[in-house]
């Protein structure tokens, strides 16, 4: 089973975690001014890259904290994990 390193608890089994989709999706600054199309884009449309992808994960069966991870979608390799208050680290 794949191990995911929680920024607080360290490496734990994948079953302890919950996936939260793409990270760094900012809430619209003026949400009331959005057209239906723009709103749909914000709610439903996500990147789907082949390669490094910044995602949100929750350590659901552990410390129950959300954090971010950069995962290579081709290999499932986790290139970095970082707390929500940290910038996305540079990965190669």
């Amino acid at each position: 089973m794949q191990l995911i390193p929680c920024p607080w608890c360290g490496p734990r089994e994948e079953v302890e975690f919950h996936y939260g989709g793409q990270a760094h999706v900012a809430y619209p600054a003026e949400s009331a001014a959005l057209s239906d199309e723009e709103w749909a884009k914000f709610v439903f449309f996500r990147d789907n890259p082949r390669g490094p992808f910044a995602e949100r994960w929750s350590h659901a069966a552990g410390c129950r904290r959300w954090f971010n991870a950069v995962r290579d979608t081709r290999s499932y390799e986790l290139l970095a994990v970082y707390r929500p208050d940290q910038e996305r680290p540079v990965t190669t």
């Binding site: 607080w8 608890c9 360290g10 734990r12 089994e13 302890e16 069966a61 552990g62 410390c63 904290r65």
Partner: protein
């Protein structure tokens, strides 16, 4: 927690005889009704005041717990998250501790919640306790990886638990499990420990 002490039943009431069948390989017992409080403390300036109330320092390192004896007797404080702790104390102290901790936090950003009824406590010790846990728990409980004072929130046989390592070398563990999962976990432990019933202590 409004239940009358004379009539309340612990989640694992009636399991003692099944637990004792695992001895001497594993000594398994329920320690019911411990006072348990969730403490959220965002403002660390109150940590000292909280420590004074408990007589124990708050654990700073993730996945550890601290223990000691303070004004309210023996207390264990487990790290549950960056600003979250679980306070364990002797049965019946939840009201007293709740108000004492609230006073220590004062007006700062934090919370104290009595969660004594949420979980029950199992203690495991004995020469095969670690092997028994390894049947359903992925955490390495060898003393070199999980020394005394380790506290992990993880899954045991797919049930969410909080596990405290009281004595790594002697294999003394505390497992906190939600009341609704307690009988499932007890049944699993008794079943997983079946093979150790043949165990006899070596003559010294």
């Amino acid at each position: 927690m409004t239940a009358d002490i004379a009539t309340r039943r612990s989640p694992l009431d009636g399991w003692t005889s099944r637990f004792t069948e695992l001895a001497p390989a594993v000594r398994l017992a329920e320690r019911p009704f411990l006072a348990q409080l969730t403490l959220r403390l965002t403002d660390t300036s109150r940590a000292a005041a909280v420590s004074r109330v408990l007589g124990v320092e708050l654990p700073e390192t993730p996945c550890t717990f601290s223990s000691g004896t303070g004004p309210h007797g023996p207390v264990e404080v487990a790290w549950l998250g960056p600003d979250e702790y679980l306070v364990l104390a002797q049965p019946g102290l939840q009201r007293t501790l709740e108000s004492a901790l609230r006073e220590a936090i004062g007006d700062t950003h934090g919370a104290v919640v009595d969660v004594s009824a949420q979980r029950t406590t199992l203690t495991l010790s004995g020469p095969r306790a670690r092997d028994l846990l390894a049947h359903g728990c992925a955490i390495d409980l060898h003393p070199s990886a999980s020394p005394i004072g380790t506290c992990v929130q993880t899954l045991l046989a797919q049930a969410g638990i909080i596990l405290l390592v009281r004595d790594a070398d002697a294999g003394e563990f505390v497992v906190l499990v939600r009341a609704s999962f307690a009988t499932y976990l007890a049944a699993w432990l008794v079943d997983a420990g079946m093979e150790y019933r043949e165990y006899r202590e070596q003559p010294v």
